[in-house]
Symmetry: C2
């Protein structure tokens, strides 16, 4: 999906325009209560005082109760035990005075539906708490809110007195995980489901195969997994257990099986389905391959295959991909071209529409609603089809106007390594969607973050998804007015370490990776560098490859584990802004800047021997040198600002030229603090010269 830069410039422009509009048109209604909740509930009324959470904590369930609810409550108690280090009673009590009373009006649906009521109300008083919800889904969300409310106090643990009424803004709040390019084991996926539940996401969009690998066991067509993978796939038993695991957490699992493109791995076992002669393997650089939509055998295969998969995946929705169909194979096949002309079609797009119509009928027969990417949109398709947009709000708005439901994924691609704030600013209802009428607006179901896995492994996937995914989760859950990035970052920092209690490793996995690269326990200096770099953005890494991208290539460089967004760099930037904004009088900010600059200045000497002795680290030498340069230059500029003495102009010119070079990616990494240091240097010119963009 969308790894080509073609549309990127358009995307960027759209984004900048739409973000600006959003920021300008809405007053940022920010929470005054200071509670570290994420996503922010739609209504929070803070009270006075708190309710202790101590060893006597107990839960009681009234109203409807079913196994899903009971397991959810048990997990809640286990989580609360972990948060507090107290061994709490695992079983719900029937006691008359529970600490937390849970009341669900209705039981769980057998298969979780889109649009079920997910609201809840949580009332906490000093003497007890009550959580009520129309459905167990609401209870699950309310319990996550309760967990986030738990604080360490001077007397123990407690939750604040508060009344929260909450429901989601959008009914579809998803995360796509691509397990085609790189296989991700189920335990890793499960901890990510736990993370999704913590931020109230409710759809895992499981991109189950792509050119590089078919990851599902098919009993009817076993060559799918046997020829179409390197042995890494999920058995049907595993999938059933996984879907149940997700369902227990209020998460639907929507499978995606790409057709007719992105499906080379499928042809490895069944070459007769392809439009070209092959041969087909999953090896890198293999033939560009698309299904042959002109043969009836193709539809017979699809019918049998969907029959099998429809039973395995109980969700009502079934994603058929449909994106980025490259017409080369169709153009090159005279029989296919003859078919196009014989059926009065104009071009390959019409052929794909014909294919999608056939596909839609098969899915409908198996009681599934078809979903696809932007490219499936065609007036011949029934309005039940759901369009997922990787192209932008315009595409989504057009679909909505035509009567199709849609989801936004444009702006939510986690693999592009954007900062959380940039994803956060993308709103499904902004841009072209803002001018839709009420009925059309209701067709925008929500959105999905996308974790495409070209550069992803079981080791680094958590750090690509978290914590940034939580910002997208908030965009899709919370009222549109919730959009202050500072508040978001404050709450994200809190959430981030809490997420590690669920087993996620987005913070902790860095250190073992540094150990591998260094081959030693002494990684402090390497960590200093690692904390201040970010992987290159967008598709730069893919585009700068000198050979064909190889999914079997090692992913063991710093770029593979460096965090997409450096907290330290952001804090440094903020300190520099605060310092400059204060007219160089903010001593606290200056102190923080100085400490970091000094650490960077001294780091290269410590780090260099390590970089020299490891092939995996050698490429970092220029970055480490640049970082030292930043440290020296920044300190020098600061000294002058401190004394209100302008820095020498020739020195500034020289340093700024050096800094331009430091902006160039090295080892696919960006030294993300160049710009604020540049601002310090520019500022050190003195009063006469204004800082570039304080």
């Amino acid at each position: 999906m969308g790894k080509f830069g073609m549309l990127l410039n358009t995307m960027r422009i759209l984004l900048i325009v739409s973000s600006a509009l959003v920021l300008a048109s809405l007053a940022a209604a920010q929470p005054q209560h200071g509670l570290n909740l994420m996503p922010m509930p739609s209504s929070v009324q803070a009270g006075v005082g708190q309710m202790p959470v101590d060893r006597s904590f107990s839960v009681a369930i009234t109203g409807s109760r079913d196994a899903t609810l009971e397991r959810g409550v048990q997990r809640f108690v286990a989580e609360l035990s972990r948060e507090t280090g107290m061994f709490l009673k695992q079983q719900p009590a029937g006691s008359a005075n529970p600490t937390l009373l849970i009341h669900a009006v209705h039981g769980s649906e057998k298969v979780q539906r889109l649009g079920e009521d997910e609201s809840y109300e949580l009332v906490i008083n000093p003497s007890g708490a009550k959580l009520t919800a129309p459905t167990p889904l609401g209870v699950l969300h309310g319990l996550q809110t309760f967990l986030q409310l738990v604080e360490t106090t001077t007397t123990g643990f407690a939750v604040p007195v508060v009344t929260i009424k909450d429901q989601p803004r959008f009914p579809w709040r998803g995360l796509l995980i691509d397990v085609g390019r790189h296989f991700i084991p189920l335990d890793v996926l499960k901890r990510n489901l736990d993370g999704m539940a913590a931020v109230k996401m409710n759809v895992l969009h499981w991109h189950l195969y792509d050119n590089e690998g078919f990851r599902v066991e098919s009993k009817r067509f076993p060559q799918l997994q046997e020829s179409g993978s390197d042995g890494l796939y999920y058995t049907q038993d595993e999938i059933r257990e996984f879907v149940a695991y997700a369902r227990d957490r209020g998460i639907r699992v929507v499978p995606e099986f790409e057709m007719p493109g992105h499906s080379r791995s499928l042809f490895a076992g069944y070459p007769e389905l392809a439009s070209g002669p092959g041969p087909y393997t999953i090896d890198p650089g293999g033939a560009d391959a698309v299904m042959d939509p002109t043969r009836e055998e193709t539809y017979k295969f699809i019918d049998k295959f969907i029959d099998e998969m429809a039973k395995l995946f109980p969700d009502n929705y079934f994603h058929i991909g449909g994106d980025e169909v490259n017409g080369h194979q169709w153009d090159a096949n005279p029989k296919i071209q003859a078919f196009i002309h014989a059926h009065g079609m104009k071009n390959n797009q019409d052929l794909q529409a014909y294919f999608n119509q056939r596909l839609q009928k098969i899915l409908s027969k198996h009681h599934k609603i078809m979903m696809g990417w932007d490219e499936v949109l065609h007036p011949d398709l029934p309005k039940t089809v759901v369009v997922q947009s990787w192209r932008g709000q315009q595409s989504l708005a057009t679909a909505a106007q035509q009567g199709y439901s849609g989801l936004l994924s444009f702006g939510y691609y986690l693999d592009l390594m954007w900062p959380a704030s940039r994803h956060y600013a993308v709103d499904p209802m902004s841009g072209a969607a803002a001018s839709l009428n009420q009925e059309e607006r209701s067709r925008i179901l929500g959105g999905e973050a996308c974790m495409w896995s070209e550069w992803v492994t079981p080791e680094n996937i958590d750090s690509r998804i978290w914590p940034r995914n939580a910002a997208i989760a908030e965009r899709l859950w919370s009222p549109p007015e919730v959009q202050d990035p500072d508040s978001m970052y404050t709450r994200l920092a809190e959430l981030s370490w809490r997420l590690e209690w669920l087993g996620l490793t987005h913070r902790s996995a860095l250190i073992p990776a540094l150990h591998r690269m260094a081959g030693t326990d002494e990684v402090a200096a390497l960590r200093t560098l690692a904390e201040i770099v970010e992987p290159v953005k967008d598709y730069t890494r893919m585009n700068s490859l000198k050979t064909t991208w190889d999914f079997r290539g090692p992913l063991n460089r710093l770029v593979d584990v460096a965090r997409p967004e450096s907290d330290q760099a952001r804090h440094f930037r903020d300190s520099v802004q605060a310092y400059i904004g204060s007219g160089y009088t903010n001593r606290a900010a200056e102190g923080e800047i100085r400490t970091l600059l000094a650490a960077w200045r001294d780091n290269d000497a410590k780090l260099r021997p390590l970089l020299e002795q490891s092939s995996l680290l050698h490429e970092l030498v220029p970055l480490s040198e640049y970082l030292a340069t930043l440290g020296v230059a920044g300190s020098f500029a600061l000294d002058h600002l401190d004394k209100s003495a302008p820095s020498p102009e020739s020195w500034r010119a020289q340093q700024l030229a050096l800094l331009e070079r430091a902006k160039t990616p090295e080892a696919d990494l960006l030294l993300i603090v160049v710009v604020p240091v540049q601002q310090l240097i520019e500022a050190s010119a003195g009063e006469a010269q204004k800082p570039s963009s304080p």
Copy 2:
């Protein structure tokens, strides 16, 4: 087992004597090759050059191959992938020129036996490697050695050219994990099995119940788990899967079911088995309870129970505990006293021996060999019984002289929070065992580290077991001459971070725990303190309790997560020794000392606000103050040493008095760097006064 301090003084004296003997009598034959292997193989011949480990790495299996071996090889490749970040081929190749050729002579036994040949030979040349072994067990060990040999180099990854011939010193190298006091989930146990396999341990001694909880599902006697636990137990399916997991890693699982004592949880469901009237619950402070060995119903129950458990646990050995039988209930029961007299027994010990004889016959009927703690030793028992000694080498030697096989656990209690070096110095063949003849010596099968779980949770258990357990593993595997603690610590540090790749959290779990206590992400100052304290030793924590120990009590204080042995404290101690030993001229050591002292001096001011706002941290205020005092006093002493100017005598007297107070435990923690700072202060008196013990 043995949580009473009664024997501790004796133990300590014995230990000091025996360590001294060992150190004095054996030349420390230390490895010259510098390879970071642990446990050290019995023979290592280092060559010149290395063999690259790159993307083309392949494995081939010749000779015997079975599913256990193949799964072991697959895990090896997966581990190597993780170590290197390269996606290696998961399936063994049949290729003519594999990178690593594996040859096992024989296949796996259905049930792993004590004393199977575990030897292997690993030959690495620049162009290829070969691993040969009589059995798959040897192959598994050799693969672990290979993994430890992988290094990061200037050109990629490589293993050195080397010839290793290796076999264990003792056939029984175990780790006991007590899941009775606190339940430990299977995923946590599994990662510990992975760690055991990495250090070539081959027995998990599973202490499956104790007064506080019965952790195994019995289908015949379901009240065992239902009344005898808080709902936390392993199902039989889970146990079978777990035993298979262990067996795949060359690890036998020996179950322990305590009889006739330590078994209150058993009486919760079956009070008729007890010697006293009850009632019985698992609640803290419950009645002291022992089985009634005078009733035939007791043996009928045991027979049926063992029949069920013998099938569930395939190992030949079956541990019946048998320790710390408190005679109170027997004394108080007139029928039991009458039975003793009627059968011509002298005392309760004779009654226990009678019970053990009956038990042994039942076990024998179910084809199990009986094991028990020291107390089971009685001349009436057959020589097949294996004695596990928590009392010391004397007890073990006595058993061996009487013809019984035995295991040492004295000196290997991980819950006593000793440093690794202290465990490392304990040798099953030292002390009284040193004077045994050859035949008697052969009865000493090895030893077991013991992880008693009074203060253990799923969160902190890894840090209690690792890395210290690896020192015990080396003692039991490597030749007795391998005993230089410096070499051990160097290799342990390397192993320690590699163990985290297996999923162990002994290093990483500290940070989430600090977050909980602090309630914030800003834990740097708290970490500075946490890194320099150690939990109190031996049974001090238990003995200083003001109320009855309660297994349901929260374990969320710093003592619960502080590492048993502070690496930083050890390094500081070493630096002080080096500095003093150099006549105060070693500038590198001085620099390290100064840096740490300054950090400690400044830490209290940063940490204090956090300590004030959290009930879990408040108890640390005195420790933080003492640490600042150490920083100030140590720096002052250093200044004088630097200038060769004696420090003022009155200042020294005052500081030394202060330091004496700082030696007192606070919050069940020890500030472990008091002594080296004391040495600096004493040294600062000048030439006239010799430092106390440099």
